[in-house]
């Protein structure tokens, strides 16, 4: 069946049921390209389990980060209608106050992440406060009627969820038939709460253990900014009339700033709200936590290379601030890595990896031998070992196991030392190596960090730290090393502790030394004569220069040098390590192409420089130029660049035919040159309508046979 038709735009293809495979396994697509390798299944499973693990982890992180916020919200909701719970006669006094308790939830600009937050929020509320939650989005509520409809639909559905299917007959009344009004919501609410009251005591217990007798109704506006003000205002005014009958609580999801409430709602409406502000964690902190837990840990064997990480962070910082998108990028990296790297089968926990190494096929061994990092390793070995490595599979496997182990140890140590270095650099003025640990991580991955200027300057700055800072840093480092899983750090801890005790000893000595310096200072204060002051200052300076370093300074140098030595041993860039290709995903171009594409640049390149895509010598040209043998659309495009806002089609056509006939050869006689060849005319029409489809031009009514240009300048 063809999909070309002049009467229809949609075509459904349904294969006959027996022919239809229920669902082709994803693993098949994994396999198709690498038919040769038999490890694809294992790889696919590894990939999937790794991703699931990471997904769980990220969800856990999100939950932990939101915990504080949700706790606050829950306690706010509890309080908001406490009077209502008591069912006292104080109602009458509440009648007068029509304020709706409102929580303004400032979530930040990363709109994409909000969905997840709201989902977990409603879950939390459902478990702790109330079953009656409605989540409203602006796109579903263009008018107050739609809003009420949506609201009722959600509220009454959740009612079914709570009370199972007991009273289905009650719900048979279709939602459409009920008049959507506040009164019907109220009657529904009273109905529901009464029912729970009248139910058997045992049942009541169970339900009231989680919720109160009359739980509040929570209405969440997910994206408050995009609601039309009219709808919001109407809803607030109407519901404030009924607040004494219906314990309503509003939650506003705000992406910008809390000021938006006041700019959206006039005072008369906003005065009906009793707003309390809640601030969620900033997305940057969220990202740091994610990086901390996913990348700077030895838990997951999969690692990101420097360029890839840089691309992901740049997309986050320059484009969307969305942690969700960062994780999506991470997911793509995992899929790409396992798909394109046959050896990624070894990218799993060390125990499994060792087993898998033993069962590697010959092809896979060859793959290992082909790795650039492994070749480098082989070249540094003795010649007989080289031969063994290149010929004997078993020996290779043995060595691979050893190398993998090395790599794991390296990771463990790397993380601890990186954190330790971060403790030092994050408190230096101007942050030469970056404020965040991710920046430091990138710097370390990129190349030998100790060879960079920034590192040099930060060491110099570290040599000027004062004692109290230094001591706290050392203590932090000790904590990091103690908590780390690396086994090599016993000595390091000892050494650091030794430094600490030395500092304490210094403190005792310092008391004695202080006297001398104080006297000098006092002397300085006595002098009021300018000449003498200058003289003493010069003397002081002289003496300071000549004086050898104090004990503290010596110790400080020692500490910094020690940290430096740690860095040099443990923070070797990953791509200097043998077999790093197995763990590290480093093809940033693929990632960038998929996530941060530039469609217009691609078009621009194709039109300006077709040789980029069509590898024909005739099209080859220097930058900015175009061959006159280029495809029609390129020529038409180039010609239209020379025009202003309007383009005369006749001129355009003539210019085009001039170019095209010149290419095809001068055999066309002079007589026909006046009249454009039909085929050329047709080609021109096609090219022009293609340009129209691409959005470069549009038909114009301003002048007959003219089209208007839609782009500026060079494009």
């Amino acid at each position: 069946m063809s999909t070309c038709s002049v009467s229809k735009g949609c075509f459904v293809f349904k294969p006959s049921p027996k022919k239809r495979k229920l669902s082709q396994k994803t693993v098949n697509y994994f396999r198709e390209r690498n038919n040769a390798s038999e490890d694809t299944d294992v790889r696919f499973v590894t990939c999937q389990s790794l991703w699931n693990q990471i997904k769980l982890e990220t969800e856990q992180i999100q939950e932990d980060l939101n915990k504080q916020l949700f706790d606050n919200l829950v306690s706010f909701l509890r309080q908001s209608h406490s009077e209502f719970q008591e069912k006292t006669t104080e109602w009458t006094c509440r009648m007068k106050s029509r304020e709706i308790p409102t929580a303004a939830l400032v979530l930040g600009v990363n709109v994409t992440d909000h969905d997840l937050t709201f989902r977990s929020l409603s879950e939390v509320l459902q478990n702790n406060i109330t079953p009656y939650i409605a989540l409203l989005e602006a796109k579903d509520c263009p008018g107050i009627k739609n809003l009420m409809q949506k609201l009722m639909g959600q509220l009454m559905n959740c009612y079914i969820d709570v009370d199972s299917l007991e009273d289905e007959d009650h719900m048979q009344v279709s939602q459409n038939k009920i008049r959507c009004s506040m009164t019907s919501i109220i009657s529904w609410y009273q109905n529901v709460t009464k029912k729970t009251d009248s139910e058997t005591p045992s049942k009541k217990r169970t339900s009231s253990s989680r919720h109160w007798q009359s739980p509040p109704v929570v209405v969440i506006f997910k994206d408050m900014e995009s609601f039309t003000t009219k709808v919001l205002q109407d809803f607030i005014v109407i519901s404030s009339q009924h607040i004494h009958e219906l314990p309503l609580v509003l939650v506003f999801g705000i992406a910008t700033s809390p000021m938006i409430i006041h700019s959206l709602l006039p005072h008369s409406v906003s005065s009906l709200l009793c707003i309390e502000l809640f601030q969620s964690l900033s997305c940057k902190e969220h990202l740091s936590t994610i990086i901390d837990k996913l990348l700077l840990t030895a838990q997951f064997p999969f690692k990101l290379g420097e360029k890839v990480l840089q691309v992901l962070i740049n997309i986050f910082l320059y484009h969307d601030f969305s942690v969700q998108n960062f994780i999506k990028g991470f997911q793509l990296c995992i899929v790409e890595h396992f798909y394109s790297q046959p050896l990624s089968v070894l990218c799993c926990p060390l125990v499994d990896a060792k087993k898998r190494v033993n069962s590697l096929s010959h092809d896979q061994c060859e793959n290992i031998r082909r790795l650039p990092s492994f070749r480098r390793y082989v070249e540094n070995q003795a010649s007989e070992k080289q031969i063994l490595l290149l010929t004997a599979d078993n020996f290779l496997k043995e060595i691979t196991q050893k190398l993998l182990e090395d790599l794991y140890v390296y990771h463990e140590n790397y993380v601890s030392v990186l954190r330790c270095l971060h403790v030092f650099t994050s408190s230096l003025p101007k942050y030469p190596l970056g404020k965040q640990i991710r920046e430091l991580h990138c710097a370390c991955l990129e190349n030998r960090v100790w060879e960079t200027e920034e590192y040099e300057s930060s060491l110099q700055l570290a040599r000027m730290l004062n004692k109290s800072d230094l001591v706290t840093m050392l203590q932090q480092c000790v904590e990091i090393f103690v908590s780390s899983s690396g086994k090599e750090f016993d000595k390091t801890i000892e050494k650091l502790k030794e430094f600490l005790t030395q500092f304490q000893e210094l403190e005792a000595e310092a008391f004695q030394e202080q006297d001398g310096s104080v006297s000098a200072q006092k002397e300085l204060q006595k002098k009021t004569d300018l000449y003498h002051l200058q003289k003493t200052l010069l003397e002081l300076k002289e003496s300071r220069r000549s004086k050898k370093l104090t004990k503290f300074e010596m110790l400080r140098f020692e500490v910094v040098d020690y940290v430096d030595s740690l860095v040099r041993t443990y923070l070797v860039p990953a791509d200097h390590k043998t077999l790093h290709e197995i763990m590290y995903f480093n093809t940033a171009s693929v990632l960038r192409g998929h996530l941060n594409a530039a469609p217009r640049v691609a078009l621009h390149t194709a039109l300006n420089n077709p040789y980029c895509y069509l590898k024909n010598q005739a099209l080859k040209s220097d930058g900015g130029n175009i061959s006159n043998k280029a495809p029609d659309i390129c020529i038409v495009y180039k010609l239209h660049l020379e025009c202003g806002r309007l383009i005369n089609l006749v001129d355009w056509l003539e210019a085009f035919s001039t170019v095209v006939t010149a290419v095809e050869g001068p055999n066309t006689d002079a007589a026909s040159s006046d009249q454009v060849d039909d085929i050329i005319h047709a080609r021109f029409i096609r090219a022009v309508s293609e340009l129209e489809l691409l959005g470069f031009i549009k038909p114009s009514k301003q002048k007959t046979d003219h089209v208007a240009r839609l782009t500026w300048g060079g494009c």
Partner: protein, 569 residues
């Protein structure tokens, strides 16, 4: 003699100092530099040239910075596919610059003159030419005689300039200084016309002018002003004038037979596709990624294809080779009357076998989402050609499609072509779509996508109307045809009158009677009703309540129609 001239110049210069002061205040930025120039009384030519270089360096610097930004995003062009990313944003999104109307002809002849060779396009005009063009545009030479008519705007301004130029310099000025004056004047002229905004070239021309003319200070100032206000001026110039400097030629005058869809199609079939081998190779590269597409689809991503060339064939190939055994829906976005509703309908009716209607697309969508969530074994592949088409690019349609695509068991593969297509999506929609971008530049012609009548340009419009006209008229009586012809002729006679309201009924009746076409006004009315039912004519009431009749077809089609009719009769 020349010294005298120079002295004259110096005197002039002194006179203009206050002007400079004023300008200094206006242009703060360059003002400082100018003041510096004044302190150094002897400004050497060298420093001046250097300054110019500095300016152009600044421009280069900016481009460099842009490139750095691109680089910061992790540019790592590997392989042929990554080439696109090496273009900086400044090249792609630059300001609009006013263009000279003759530019296209020049470029075309340039391209044509050197067949088989690579020609510099526009950018590398030789300096001689730039020096010449202003002059020729001032006094339209023989080569531009044909375009003279369209340069009315220029013609009107030129005398003023000439007058000014004749009045300003002293008559005893030497020819050399006269030349320099005209040259700088020419530069100004050039500026006004905006020679494709090639600043580098302009500056080079200006340095030349500066080296000839003695009063460097004033020139330096002028150049700087030009430089600074260049962008702003060019922008406003491009947008302020409602007059359009293009020739008045129309396709009518070409004596060109209009091509209809069929002949166009046939002609294009005859024309061999250029670079077929390379295009095939390109396509094969893309086809090798099919299994990867499926993998990504199954990992929860949706795929969007972009790049020059029709992606229809590629998607068809994908469909026939991979999706044969699964349920899939193909949507031709370029189809002129496609709607989201029809897409949703085909899902509910044909995929879910549900009969029933829905109040709104939102209800419809909800139903679909519910069904897909209930039945996880249900899988649907949706292929949309041209997601950015006129009919689907609206906010609401995109929202619905995005929500549809966010379902875990609906897999969406779409293609986009329009340069501004990504603007359709905000962050929320993007996250729903969860796109993975694939560059698939195919260079194949957009045959199917542009085949619908309204997607073609003026050459085509009307051919459908014309054929419908002839078809309807053929079924009518001779008298009826006569009536219509009469109206058509009358309309054509008045085609130059922009305020022509149409033919009033009374006049029409009168004329028809005279031509023995009708005998009563009732028969005419009956006839007109028939025309109206076939949408051949339209009526509108004038201010005085009189009914005016006209044919809602453009003049050229009408002419064609009359010609054809005359042949028949």
């Amino acid at each position: 003699m020349s010294q005298a001239g120079r002295r004259e110049r110096a005197a002039l210069e002194v006179k203009f100092v206050p002007d400079e002061e004023v300008l200094k205040h206006i242009a703060e930025d360059s003002g400082i530099k100018v003041r510096k120039d004044k302190t150094q009384l002897t400004v050497t030519l060298k420093t001046f040239v250097k300054k110019l270089e500095d300016i152009s360096d600044d421009g280069a610097q900016e481009i460099l910075e842009e490139k750095n930004y691109v680089a910061a995003l992790g540019i790592c062009a590997q392989g042929s596919m990554g080439n696109g990313s090496s273009v900086s944003g400044g090249e792609v999104y630059s300001f609009q610059t006013p263009k000279r109307s003759s530019k296209m002809v020049e470029l075309a002849s340039e391209l044509a003159q050197t067949p088989g060779q690579i020609v510099a396009a526009g950018h590398s005009e030789c300096p001689e030419k730039t020096a010449k063009t202003p002059q020729s545009s001032k006094r339209p030479g023989s080569n531009k005689a044909q375009q003279r008519s369209k340069k009315k705007e220029f013609v009107s301004t030129t005398p003023y300039r000439l007058r000014k130029r004749l009045a300003a310099p002293d008559p005893d000025l030497e020819s050399e200084s006269e030349y320099s004056a005209s040259c700088s004047e020419g530069d100004e002229d050039d500026q006004k016309e905006g020679s494709a905004g090639l600043s580098g070239q302009k500056t080079s021309a200006k340095t030349k002018a500066a080296s000839v003319s003695p009063p460097r200070n004033t020139l330096a100032k002028k150049v700087k002003e030009d430089k600074m206000s260049n962008l702003v001026e060019e922008y406003f110039e491009a947008h302020s004038s409602s007059k359009v400097l293009t020739s008045d030629r129309t396709l009518q005058k070409l004596q060109k037979r209009r091509l209809n869809q069929q002949t166009l199609h046939d002609l294009l079939k005859k024309a061999p596709l250029a670079y077929a081998a390379e295009i095939k190779e390109l396509n094969q590269q893309h086809e090798s990624l099919f299994s990867k597409w499926m993998l990504h689809l199954h990992w929860g991503f949706n795929i969007v294809l972009y790049g020059l060339g029709s992606k229809r064939d590629l998607l068809e190939k994908f469909r026939t080779s991979v999706l044969q055994d699964s349920i899939h829906l193909v949507v031709n976005g370029y189809f002129p009357s496609i709607t989201v509703r029809s897409i949703l309908n085909s899902i509910t009716e044909e995929v879910l076998d549900h009969t029933g209607t829905f109040h709104s697309p939102l209800d419809h969508l909800e139903f679909i989402i519910k069904r897909f969530k209930e039945d996880s074994s249900l899988e649907l592949y949706v292929l949309i050609h041209n997601l950015d088409s006129q009919m689907l690019r609206g906010e609401r349609s995109q929202q619905i499609l995005a929500q549809l695509s966010s379902l875990p068991n609906i897999y969406l593969i779409a293609s986009i072509d329009h340069i501004n297509a990504p603007l359709m999506w905000d962050q929320a929609k993007l996250s729903l779509y969860n796109w993975l971008w694939y560059e698939t530049t195919t260079f194949s012609p957009y045959a199917e996508e542009t085949s619908y009548e309204n997607s073609l340009l003026v050459q085509q419009s009307g051919s459908l109307a014309l054929s419908s006209l002839t078809h309807v008229l053929r079924s009518l009586t001779l008298n009826a045809r006569g009536i219509f012809r009469l109206l058509a002729r009358y309309q054509l006679e008045h085609k130059d009158n922009p305020s022509y309201p149409g033919l009033s009924f009374q006049d029409f009746y009168q004329q028809c009677r005279e031509a023995f076409l009708v005998n009563s006004d009732l028969t005419l009315r009956a006839q007109l009703t028939e025309f109206r039912d076939h949408k051949l004519i339209r009526t509108k009431r004038g201010g005085d309540g009189v009914e005016y009749l006209f044919i809602p077809v453009d003049d050229s089609t009408l002419t064609d129609f009359l010609e054809k009719e005359d042949e028949d009769v």
